[in-house]
């Protein structure tokens, strides 16, 4: 099944053989074979649920395989817990960042490494100098003494990588590392990865974006439904063939946005300033209007006021200064699905109800009309293709894509006026992401209301520049709390990307 490359003279640095893993009734990995060699950047691709993250979990000791053999540099190893993986020279950068938020960068980097003296000492100076050296080598720089929770997501990612490199692993595994980076940062990051590989390491990457895969990977392994469907050098592939391999069918090219005919004004922010959770000025003098029938895109790296802007637009928080005019009901798709959009232990009906407790249709005085909510949830699941056997399953049991479909559908039920979406497709596979984008566009174009009202307005706040470019009628960049309008004639990846990253995410200001 595998198509061994030219490097096969030495044993593969990572060799997986017939790995199987089942979670309850779900088979996540169904006999996966994989070989990766030192000196190569190896991309692992596939849709959500294809088993990529589980496979990487197996390799990093987070998930224990039911069956199969793992060999590192030719020797079989048992990876029952992360310690074993570290000991075998495998370093993992997870998709869900695994830093301790309340510790400093330095402490996070040093965590879990025993230097000497039975751990009775914490050699801060030593850690600091090695960290400096690593920063210089890779170009990933970060203040070692700052507490991690004060860092932006992008910066945390850097710390995560530094932390892994600090242990000098021979195999580096990264799960969707680019999702929080701006385009220019992605370029830089890829060159770091290539540099690491050229030192003789193996870099295993999970990626979603096809152009990124083709840009960085030496070899590509495609997973589908827990099986390897293809493995080969990337030079022989193009985006079309790769997409077909991943999804199993051709993907229609998306249509470009057709010009909108904006309707009545829905939102007006004037001179809005707001403080962030740490008391810093997160938004400064923001002016923004949104009309019916248009999609306004706000690009920018997380940590530049995105959260505050979203919450103010959603009506969940009030600004410190300035005036805000909002419609009565606002739908909101937050960035953190299981933290802010859904209650993981609630079932789907309850999660739908969470957004509708004010809606007169679903209340009778102080009582909730659970019957109506249940049938509404069933309809919603049908309409938006939420893949779940019954509305009685808990939200955490759904895949990320299905969770997001539920959230989008629910927020459309909540408001026919305005929808605010933050990173609406993050962590979704191509098909699910496509679905969500289509929904957003469809609703902003059609007369969505049942009584034939005007279409709602949509604001997409995202760090995914491609998403913003693809969806938006008007584009802004939010950087260091300031909202910058992008002129119609400069809607290019390069221009907007440059606007996003000029000193991106520097929280010191």
């Amino acid at each position: 099944m595998t198509d061994s490359g030219a490097e096969s003279a030495s044993p593969p640095s990572v060799e997986l053989e017939a790995i199987r893993k089942r979670f309850g009734p779900v088979v996540a990995l169904d006999g996966v074979d994989l070989e990766a060699f030192s000196g190569e950047v190896h991309a692992l691709v596939g849709e959500n649920g294809a088993g990529k993250t589980t496979l990487m979990g197996v390799l990093s000791g987070v998930v224990r395989a039911d069956e199969g053999v793992i060999r590192i540099a030719g020797r079989p190893v048992r990876l029952a817990k992360p310690r074993d993986a570290w000991a075998a020279g495998i370093g993992m950068v997870h998709q869900h960042l695994t830093l301790v938020p309340t510790l400093t960068v330095l402490e996070n980097v040093a965590l879990g490494v025993r230097s000497a003296a039975w751990g009775l000492r914490l050699p801060f100076d030593q850690v600091r100098s090695r960290l400096d050296a690593l920063s210089n080598e890779t170009g990933l720089s970060v203040d070692p003494d700052v507490v991690v929770e004060r860092l932006s997501v992008g910066e945390r990612q850097r710390v995560e990588i530094l932390k892994v490199l600090y242990r000098d692993p021979r195999v580096l595994v990264l799960d969707e590392p680019t999702s929080v980076l701006a385009p220019q940062e992605v370029e830089e990051f890829f060159s770091v990865l290539r540099g690491l590989a050229s030192e003789g390491r193996t870099v295993l990457l999970i990626l979603h974006k096809i152009d990124e895969i083709l840009a960085v990977a030496d070899r590509v392994t495609v997973l589908r439904g827990g099986r390897v469907v293809h493995s080969g050098v990337s030079d022989t592939m193009d985006s079309g063939s790769l997409a077909r391999l991943m999804i199993g069918r051709a993907v229609a090219a998306h249509e470009p946005p057709r010009p909108s005919e904006p309707g009545a004004e829905l939102v007006r922010l004037e001179g809005v300033s707001a403080r962030g959770s740490k008391g810093e000025m997160a938004l400064r003098d923001v002016h923004l209007t949104v009309r019916r029938g248009e999609i306004v895109g706000v690009a920018g790296v997380d940590g530049n006021g995105q959260r505050e802007l979203a919450l103010i637009l959603a009506g969940a928080e009030s600004p410190e200064f300035g005036t805000v005019h909002l419609p009565d009901t606002v739908g909101f798709i937050p960035a953190d699905r299981l933290g802010e959009a859904l209650v993981p232990d609630f079932d789907l009906t309850q999660n739908v109800a969470l957004a509708l407790t004010e809606a007169p249709r679903y209340r009778q005085g102080a009582l909730l009309r659970w019957g109506r909510l249940r049938s509404a949830t069933a309809r919603l699941m049908d309409l938006h293709g939420v893949g779940a056997p019954t509305p009685a399953v808990r939200a955490w049991q759904l895949s990320g894509g299905n969770q997001q479909k539920l959230v989008v559908g629910r927020e459309l039920m909540r408001s026919q006026n305005l929808l605010i979406a933050r990173n609406p497709t993050r962590g979704l596979d191509v098909a699910a992401g496509r679905f969500v984008k289509d929904e957003l566009r469809r609703m902003s174009r059609s007369s969505a209301g049942e009584e034939g009202e005007d279409p709602p307005g949509v604001v997409v706040i995202s760090s995914d520049l491609d998403e913003v470019l693809e969806l938006s009628d008007r584009i802004f960049v939010l950087r260091r709390g300031r909202l910058l309008a992008v002129p119609e004639d400069r809607r290019t990846r390069e221009f907007v990307g440059a606007l996003m990253v000029a000193h991106a995410g520097d929280p010191s200001e």
């Binding site: 879990g112 230097s115 751990g119």
Partner: protein
Amino acid sequence: MAELALLTSFLAASVRLGVPLALAALGETVSERAGVINIGLEGSLIAGALGGALGALAWSSAFGGILTGAAVGALVAVVFAAFVVGLNTDQIITGTAITMGGLGVTGAVYQARFGLTGTTLTLPPLSSVPVPLLHRIPVLGPALFDQAPTAYFAVVMGILLWYGLFRTEWGLELRAVGESPDAAQAAGVRVRWTRFWATVFGGLMAGIAGAHLALDSGTFIEGMSGGRGFIALAVVVLGRWNPLWVVVAAIFFGGASALQFSMQALGWDVPHQFFLALPYLLTLAALAGWVGRARAPSALAHPWPKTSI
């Protein structure tokens, strides 16, 4: 001069009353830093008191009593840890059971050993040891440097634990386990192992605190811990989970308790219940005033790994 003597005796009493709280709270600080809140501290404390009494009798030495008390307190914590770390049961409810059980079993064992109607134990004393030279300092000397060995032990432990928590790799791992066990595990830290031993250490310190109670008063009686396990929990918060502040907070609470005795001894005509409630009121005020938003370890009382059903 008389005022100074009064001050000295007040300070000395503050330290004396603070010592058992400091010992128990220091242990609890360690286990809470690892994410385990032990409401069963009272159980370890009373078990340590009985263990201390029995040990002191068996070895005819106060030191033997302290060691036995430590062992018994640790043993109780092993039971607690087996449940909350091993079986992943709810920490609050398990702790409640451990407190109930500790009070009950010590009573039963005491009665089995010394008869249903009890007896008048006289234990080898935990005599105070003056620190050479220092105890001659006016006012402070006799108050601070003429104390039982356990008092010095508490202070030394405060410093050692501060160093251990914030200046060693062990401490870093332990704090990470209490803040974010998932992240700690991903970094290769043995989360359960760490939590288990931190909890047992907490019990050991509570056992020493209990043994101190028994030896300091020279006897054991049922229920003599008198809720100090719960107070120790408050002291941990008051000390912001920092061993050095915990020692200070324990002495603060000890001072508030000493105040009730000093004031009654002065013959103030205020209902004595007011003085009895005073330490708690002062602690509430201190929490409201300066502890404010001090943050508990993020994963405190969270079972790990999270069970999915």
